[in-house]
């Protein structure tokens, strides 16, 4: 009788959890590390960099990542459901994108979006990192801000020399979503670097310094952010 009750209770627990795909004992946890740099050095906020003969200081650097896939020989072998991450340079706990797999799996590459996919963009309110209180959602026009880069530079003739890049836009022709793919040798996750000097070297801050709505410019700038990501050989 007592054993029967326990069995039922265990079964009930499995039923209650069945939607969550928890396989006890086998799941594997991963952490994908992101490091932000300025050229050869670790990025520092509020630091005066020399850039194109003038000064440049960064105040904020955030971006969304989503849609994480693991690949083997070019084929997707695992998709991490509802994988979304908000990297905020100021908050070092966000420099690791944590995810887990129900069981160990062999893969040789990883692929993910820089930004939030268009289906999520049109599906209403979400919590967690997607909660609009994260400051990465536009109020006046629907859409996540995929990348936010703010700072000051004497190259900008704006108020207080500020520059603001709020890169977003999810529908054609201003879709800013980018895809990043990196090798993962022997199933070991690479450390991913993003060098903001590359981003600023590819743009003219004197003329392009306030981009805060979906446009042709935001699409090309999002591509430049993508091109600033790399892994070390």
């Amino acid at each position: 009788m007592r054993v029967g009750f326990l069995k039922n209770a265990v079964l009930a627990l499995v039923l209650a959890f069945s939607g969550r795909e928890i396989v006890m004992g086998q799941s594997v946890d991963y952490e994908l590390e992101f490091k932000a740099w300025w050229g050869e050095d670790k990025l520092q906020l509020k630091h005066a960099y020399h850039h194109q003969g003038q000064t440049l200081q960064l105040d904020r650097f955030l971006f969304y990542l989503s849609g994480l896939d693991l690949l083997r020989r070019g084929e997707v072998v695992a998709s991490i459901p509802e994988s979304r991450h908000l990297f905020d340079f100021e908050d070092t706990t966000t420099h690791h994108w944590k995810f887990s797999l129900p069981k160990p799996i062999k893969f040789d590459a990883i692929r993910f979006h820089l930004g939030i996919d268009s289906l999520t963009q049109v599906s209403g309110a979400y919590g967690g990192v997607l909660d609009p209180t994260s400051g990465m959602y536009w109020a006046w026009q629907s859409g996540f801000i995929n990348v936010k880069i703010e700072g000051e530079s004497t190259l900008c003739s704006t108020r207080q020399n500020k520059f603001k890049f709020h890169l977003g836009g999810y529908f054609a022709p201003f879709n800013t979503l980018q895809v990043l793919e990196f090798e993962s040798k022997r199933g070991k996750l690479p450390t991913i670097f993003v060098d903001l000097r590359r981003y600023f070297s590819a743009l003219d801050l004197m003329t392009t310094n306030e981009v805060m709505s979906p446009s042709k410019t935001s699409v090309s700038l999002a591509r430049q952010v993508k091109n600033s990501f790399f892994v070390r050989p």
């Binding site: 029967g4 039922n8 209770a9 079964l11 009930a12 627990l13 039923l15 209650a16 959890f17 963009q121 049109v122 599906s123 209403g124 309110a125 979400y126 919590g127 909660d131 609009p132 209180t133 400051g135 959602y137 109020a139 006046w140 026009q141 629907s142 859409g143 201003f174 446009s215």
Partner: protein, 340 residues
């Protein structure tokens, strides 16, 4: 016996584990002759306490910077949740916006919001007025800080969502829940649809005219396609509002505005995106003689609509059958008196 026990145990455990799952969920009810809803209720299942929380938030000026403006300030129940007496919306510090506050009803069937479709989901709509300088001039983060310190809201969130955490998602989804319940389906037109009454001769004549001149953009039973169209209004040089084009940046969207429903017309004056017409007579006259041709003018308006004075009266009679007095005076949607 075992199966029953297992089911019961599983239910209790799920309820304990998932928290809100045990709260009673409500079926979204609407007439059989309405189409399928576009709102995805599975992502925000209706529950009595969430609707009530949303209603409380909707009527509470706590959402605005100086606690003077609520959603209902510009979306009054007695005007089918539109704003009378102002062509352009009237917000905080007596600031005036750039567009006419639209009526709110049958929102579960709409795919985009705002006159230019800037907002793509009902859940995200409230963000715009909360943070707009000319409306509430506040932010969702500040709203949440204020609600957390409020004597009643933490308890209401606990009741509705299973714990006292107040998040942006919960605030927005609660507001959606209340607004989703604003279903207008009890006009004379609806009673005719249900076979409970009949149109008068004048109304029937008006219906014929309506079907040949208006229903392409304003089809029954919602009386809008909820698409976008240029209805031939001359551009107001003080506003220079390009409508949908400001969102899509496409020239073919120049001067296109969201097609409003014609339900509850008598309650929602003034009319058009900039509130330029104070009464329905002016609206009908616009369609009969005021259409301004342009590259993006709706194809249906490219041939003049010929209406004599009898036609106008008949059409007007039919349009009056779309007024839903029951909806407008339904206490269920009104100010939550019991909460105070």
């Amino acid at each position: 016996m075992t199966l029953k026990f297992l089911k019961a145990l599983s239910f209790v455990l799920s309820a304990l584990l998932i928290g809100t799952a045990a709260l009673p969920l409500l079926e979204f009810e609407f007439p059989k002759y309405f189409p399928k809803t576009t709102y995805e209720f599975a992502n925000n299942p209706l529950a009595e306490d969430k609707i009530e929380l949303g209603r409380r938030l909707f009527y509470d000026p706590v959402l605005s910077r100086d606690s003077t403006v609520s959603c209902a300030s510009c979306h009054s129940p007695f005007n089918a949740f539109a704003h009378v007496d102002h062509d352009l919306s009237h917000g905080i510090d007596d600031r005036i916006g750039t567009r006419n506050a639209p009526a709110l009803f049958n929102l579960a069937w709409q795919r985009s919001f705002m006159w230019d479709g800037a907002v793509n989901h009902l859940d995200m709509q409230a963000l715009a007025p909360i943070s707009h300088r000319d409306e509430m001039d506040f932010s969702l983060v500040e709203v949440i800080h204020r609600l957390e310190r409020h004597p009643q809201y933490p308890g209401m969130f606990q009741k509705a969502w299973g714990d006292t955490a107040i998040t942006g998602e919960r605030v927005l989804k609660s507001l959606s829940q209340f607004q989703l319940t604003l279903v207008s389906c009890n006009s004379k037109f609806d009673s005719v649809m249900r076979g409970e009454s009949k149109f008068s001769t004048q109304e029937s004549n008006g219906l014929v005219l309506f079907e040949s001149h208006c229903s392409a953009c304003h089809p029954a039973p919602l009386f809008s396609t909820y698409g976008f169209a240029n209805n031939g209004l001359p551009t107001d040089s003080t506003l220079r509002d390009m409508g949908r084009m400001s969102i899509t940046k496409k020239s073919e969207d120049s001067l296109l505005f969201k097609i409003p429903s014609l339900r509850n017309l008598t309650y929602t004056f003034p009319y058009m995106h900039d509130g330029r017409f104070a009464n329905l007579r002016q609206v009908i006259n616009h369609y009969a003689t005021g259409i301004r041709p342009s590259a993006t003018l709706a194809v249906q308006l490219q041939t003049p609509i010929v209406l004599n004075s009898d036609d106008k009266v008949d059409l007007f009679a039919f349009l009056l059958t779309l007024s839903d007095r029951h909806f407008v005076f339904d206490a269920k949607h009104g100010f939550p008196r019991n909460a105070y």
